[in-house]
């Protein structure tokens, strides 16, 4: 083994300074063992360099820009909604402060009472109409059974028609 042969590893690692590299390359002409090893590595290098490169779809950069714009639009949207919600919240505090807390609660109670009265009137109206219909069309003790069956048939018809219409929509 010649003393230059010791530089083989550093040569293969591309660690030699230019002068030593040239000297080692000169040594390669006279040393078959080093030459063979270097050639094998060169073959691997060439094979790696000739690995095929992928082409990127023409639309790739447009898609990237489109996704950036979409993301920016979403961020702006969230910013807008947050700003509006915050403004509404601040305004409501302002109104509560301006009108007075006691008055706001009194108004809210009055509103809740109106809603309650409205719903109890609706419930009374429905109960009255259904009892008068039941009394008018009473056909003996099987009335409840017949009504349940009628209800089932109507429900079936309703769901069937929803299915048909949704398919037509698609």
């Amino acid at each position: 083994m010649k003393k230059e042969c010791k530089l083989l590893l550093e040569y293969l690692k591309d660690n030699l300074p230019e002068r030593e590299k040239s000297a080692f390359e000169y040594h390669l002409k006279n040393c078959d063992k080093c030459k063979q090893e270097v050639e094998q590595f060169k073959e691997i290098e060439n094979a790696l360099n000739s690995m095929p490169k992928l082409n990127v779809p023409e639309t790739f950069s447009f898609e990237v820009i489109a996704s950036i714009k979409e993301r920016k639009r979403k961020v702006l949207g969230w910013f807008y909604y947050s700003a509006v919600s915050l403004s509404v919240l601040l305004l409501s505090f302002f109104f509560v402060g301006a009108i007075g807390v006691k008055r706001v609660f009194a108004n809210a109670r009055a509103f809740a009472h109106t809603v309650e009265v409205f719903f109890s009137s609706v419930t009374t109206a429905v109960a009255t109409i259904s009892s008068s219909l039941y009394n008018t069309f009473y056909i003996g003790r099987f009335t409840s059974v017949i009504l349940v069956l009628l209800f089932a048939v109507l429900s079936y018809g309703f769901f069937k028609s929803v299915k048909v219409f949704s398919k037509a929509g698609k």
């Binding site: 590893l9 293969l12 690692k13 591309d14 660690n15 094998q40 590595f41 073959e43 691997i44 290098e45 094979a47 790696l48 360099n49 000739s50 690995m51 095929p52 490169k53 992928l54 082409n55 990127v56 779809p57 790739f60 950069s61 447009f62 898609e63 990237v64 820009i65 996704s67 950036i68 714009k69 993301r71 920016k72």
Partner: protein, 185 residues
Amino acid sequence: MCDELKVIEKVLDGDIDSFGILVKRYEKQIVNFIFRMIGNYQDALELSQEVFLRAYTGLKTYSSEYSFSTWLFRIARNRTIDFIRKRRIKTVSIEGSGEEDSLKPQYETNELRPDEVFEKNRRARLVEKAVARLPEEYREVIIMYHVDGLKYEEISEILALPIGTVKNRIFRARKMLKELLEGEI
């Protein structure tokens, strides 16, 4: 480089379309790197898109002391390693047969005789398979150096490793490949 900095300034001033110039310039290198690392074309395209999106959102943090390509590669490398760790991919299989044409990787074409094409493809497949079997830290340096054509200095900056370590890894990777491809090419 100077021209690149001007483009970056324009993007930072709100001109999103100018970012397309940077995407066009680096898309091939990034997609090739990610594809060779994970082995799936569709995933590579999606991941590359995400890398550019991250680069856009983080552009404010880019410092011109590094080249833009180094900075971009660092994002691509970190995202790819995350992806590999999440999917627990140890070695990859380079696929080329998707269900649809759009999912198949499209390679560069050269004008060669049919027998040369056949031989070249055979060698390329063998090398691709061997590279895919390399451990992650060796695979990435080999792809950066041989597929993306990056210099030792650039790889060293991307991986935050001394140049000597990069050269050593490339050498060890080639040595492993030499053993894997013994008598085949």
